[in-house]
Symmetry: D2
Subunit: 353 residues, 4 copies
């Protein structure tokens, strides 16, 4: 109930950043799919720390070990267990936080909720958990490889990439370290992050995700609308503060006569303010949405705070943290999107006789 995501295709995860390993179980994965293990590792590499100068310099190889559910390279229909060992964890980086509540982290809420907490690097709340999602998402991508999912950085602080996604070449997303397919914007974003990093500060940003070639009919009314599940998935990512799809918050300013998507004879629509989803169900048009990430809470500056006794304390980020979480979150957004689509694709197989 608490650590599971999905309905038929269900990911259940475990692990703390400084424990032995993180990992999970992928249940409901259909039998008969040949697994491309390199593709899985490639996704993990896109997420891993230390990959460029604008992300955390921690080194974690993030190698996944599949323990079950795949036999002779093919999924068997059995649950797929996997682990990712925690290596090179400098837990001493975190020892100074043992009894101190870091501002805008979950230290305080966990302590109050559970009466105890694993204070090493945020424990279960660490974004290291997202490596598990990337593993499952990488398999899901292979399962629904007819759907193209492309996420990219669309803003860093007040640097916005203004081009409509239709003008972008998604193959360029990986060509720069900030993962923005528009080179000019990418440079500005990288400069922004560098500047913020030097100030010992962090910055927020947004990711846009576009899913193309989605079959018509994915999504389940009433309480499993496709966009509602996508929204829930995105809001599960650490640091996410908002989600909008199609016209989003702009749509709230519009009139029906301009917002309605008029049909072409083949069922496609002339505009796509609906964002590819109508009544919670995909209509075959591009699905696109935008996700807002707040700035990382750990900054390399002095901050006053309190400890568990309510005594005044001071904190200064010492670990190796991301100045901006957005570049590394791009594969995470794609992974969860793939999981949602794969799950709904399986669900849809049961909805008509």
């Amino acid at each position: 109930m608490f650590n599971s995501f999905g309905n038929i295709l269900k990911l259940t995860t475990f692990g703390e950043s400084h424990g032995v390993a993180i990992g999970g179980v992928i249940d409901g994965f259909p039998a008969g799919m040949k697994v491309d293990f390199d593709a899985v590792q490639q996704e993990l590499d896109r997420r891993k720390p230390g990959q460029s100068k604008i992300v955390t310099q921690r080194k974690e190889p993030d190698t996944v070990e599949f323990l079950s559910g795949i036999f002779e390279g093919v999924t068997t229909g059995a649950s797929i267990g996997f682990t990712i060992k925690n290596t090179n964890q400098k837990s001493k980086d975190y020892n100074h936080n043992t009894d101190v509540y870091r501002p805008s982290h979950a230290d305080y809420t966990y302590d109050k909720k559970y009466g105890t907490r694993d204070y090493r690097g945020g424990g279960r709340t660490s974004a290291r958990e997202t490596a598990n999602w990337v593993v499952a998402g990488a398999l899901a991508k292979q399962l629904i490889n007819h759907i193209n999912i492309n996420a990219f950085t669309s803003s860093v602080g007040d640097v916005f990439m203004m081009k409509p996604y239709q003008d972008l070449d998604f193959s360029k997303t990986e060509s720069n370290i900030v993962r923005c397919p528009d080179e000019t914007s990418a440079e500005k974003m990288i400069d922004k992050i560098q500047e913020i990093r030097k100030a010992g500060d962090t910055i927020g940003g947004t990711i846009t995700c576009v899913a193309q070639n989605v079959p018509i009919g994915l999504g389940e009314p009433i309480f499993h609308k496709l966009h509602a599940e996508l929204g829930k998935a995105m809001l599960s990512i650490n640091a996410v503060k908002g989600f909008e799809f199609g016209s989003g918050f702009c749509g709230a300013k519009m009139q029906g006569s301009e917002h309605n998507d008029i049909f072409n004879p083949d069922g496609t629509t002339q505009s796509n303010l609906s964002g590819g989803i109508q009544g919670g169900v995909s209509n075959g048009m591009d699905i696109y949405f935008r996700v807002a990430f707040k700035p990382v809470a750990t900054i390399m500056q002095n901050q006053s705070t309190i400890n568990s006794k309510g005594e005044a304390s001071e904190i200064h980020g010492k670990g190796r943290h991301d100045p901006c979480v957005v570049p590394r979150a791009v594969p995470i957004v794609e992974a969860l999107t793939a999981l949602v689509f794969a799950d709904f694709w399986l669900m849809d197989k049961t909805r008509r006789i």
Copy 2:
């Protein structure tokens, strides 16, 4: 799986706008609560059509009948079944739509997904379903009556209520028909809707919701974060295109040094950009979020469209529809918020020995 919402406190619903009745089952409701039936009806009345000049003029009394789970006015722990009869349904208003796909409605996607559809007034996709949610939410409100939940209209089109919620008197929300507690803004919003209505058009808007006095510790990592469930709930409401909480999309432009909420000695925070939730768990501060609604798709203007054979057709809204969905959605937002809190409040009872 498809028509259920919640984990321990679970609402399962059914019903089409032009069927015999809509209704649902509330499962997991604890025993021993004295039910205030008037309060339930009051919430239904806030949602019902025909209540003012700026909403649809359809007349539906929306009287709930509880069929089980309440004995001598007290919940018994058994599932609570209820129905709301469909009365005064002019289904002939919809007969002209039998084979025509209304733009930006779910007609097309349902037809493609299910191979069949109830074309009367949108069938299962009708927002009439939300009356079910209001019933369940009204009971949930009574269960967690220590939490204050106040939603209100914060924008209609480009008319924004700019005051911070802290400056508002929520008791005034019901004093005007657009449900904006700021009278000056309310008047402008009402004028806007009147103007749009006369043009046979519709308009979008936003609702802000504030939950106060939420106990510390509600919310379940990793995949049932409090804000992720709230987001999913809001995105389940018809016409919703976006959700943000705390700093939201603005937070994506900020730096960590300005975004972090510094603790007071008592565990409260000096600012509250986190929106009352850290690591998916409530921290005792106000929880606030904003929901974007697109304009209603049914407009009183001619629109070109297609029928199920892909033939060009024309459509002109004939039913009695809302020019702006936002005023009537205020109690719906509150109802789902109450359901989420009640569910997490129950879940939290199991999380410590």
Copy 3:
């Protein structure tokens, strides 16, 4: 969680025997099935009270009203809501039990668990609930009409029908009021029940169920084995004390060399001690199982008992109760069996690419 059964095809129910109505929601039912309403009513009639001299003489017409999910006689994929009104309920029959715990009923446990209870006729614990299951099962039967499900009374007290099921003509089950397809045994059973009834007593019995033409591959390891779900379903029926399938408890006395089912070249097996299920998955052979029902707790004799204060009291059954629950439970066993098969049939659609 509490009042739902099934995974993809999920039945959620509500209702007390003396409330306004009982009913439920069938979620996940596929679109496109033409509903045979007469067949549904026929199943309800098999279960209803008052149908013969050996069952309770209460008269309840048990007419189901479908409220949603079926349009122009065809399922739409939307949730199917239904109610069965409670009529002709002589609640005064039960008034004497207001504060008395009936022996071997659930009065005591409900009171202790919930701190309150609906004392009218057992409230939620009444076997009237099973009418809901029969409705859902009747639809499930139509969905998987390629599978033949036949339950019958195989013993009443110490009167056992000894013929192997292969020698029976299932079309004769409905030809007698005890629902045993072997006429000779049926007569003895009826005599037994008559005799017991005259003594103001009740008696237990067993039902055997045979499912034929089950497709190979239904059932989900590890925790949704086909027989485990069937067992859970049967153990959910009021008064059931035991479940066995295939060789059952007899199998526990056997040796592997005699118990193993040797294959024929076509994959069928020479014997079928496995009961049509191997490793939790159907193998295409007949599935058969046996369900034990205890005698009804309400007897027309004086019994000493206690009230809620722990004071000694006396009780004497006054309502119109079944001397033997087994004949009316035959359609209930079939209904739940059909629900399980339909659910697994849908699940199986997702298990291979």
Copy 4:
């Protein structure tokens, strides 16, 4: 959905007998419990192969490694991941079975269902999976350590231990290798198994389980009755063919006047044919049930069978298998029973205000 057990306390497992490791995730475990790791290992040792002359001589140390959810020896409320490495697996023992369907195993059904299978030692269907359950059950036992759960071997083939459980000293269950607390019966059972083993054959048996000191009120109507979940749990164990509780199948022969459990003034009952459960809810009396195990399918004798092409083949058990599964299943029965009770104990915390 497929590999998970439980509702609030949920175990999700993975692993094949000859893969890298088996393991699982325990979700919903409350925070704040000090873990007794030795007690966990002790339970695993009770289940492990090679512990005596009457069980399989395979040597598997079965050491569990906890990967998360426990910090400084105390549960944190986070999901508990664990693995048990597969060591000393002689997969060559199984190579001869690559394409042959073993009679009364799941080879055939898995192949037909999934179109592929892990043929090494039964893959996912191996009873090795039950080691995962024992780990989770051992933690559950510690969580509900006020409940005493004692399972024991009550029959092997036609050797029955006839004493009522009230006359047994459960502390003697572990004093003999067949796990029957009655020494005289134990000796006969051991002789029986030895004899069967020498014949290259296998034999079935039954396990009885008694739970004492169960709080009143555990169990959830309508579809999560305590005994129904226990039944489902037991029927999930490999080789189980039947389940009965309280009076069980004998109850089906009885009359209400002899079967009813008359109350004492304190709410206990004079007899306990109900088996400690009324209306699906525990009544504070002892809960007892009996589980039937068929003989192990792998025998050390020649058996004719078929391969995947339907060609006649012959098979002769070569691995090291149990002549009787019952002695090693005793801790498995206890483990699942503990999981069920712990889950319902948590659920019950949410059922009253």
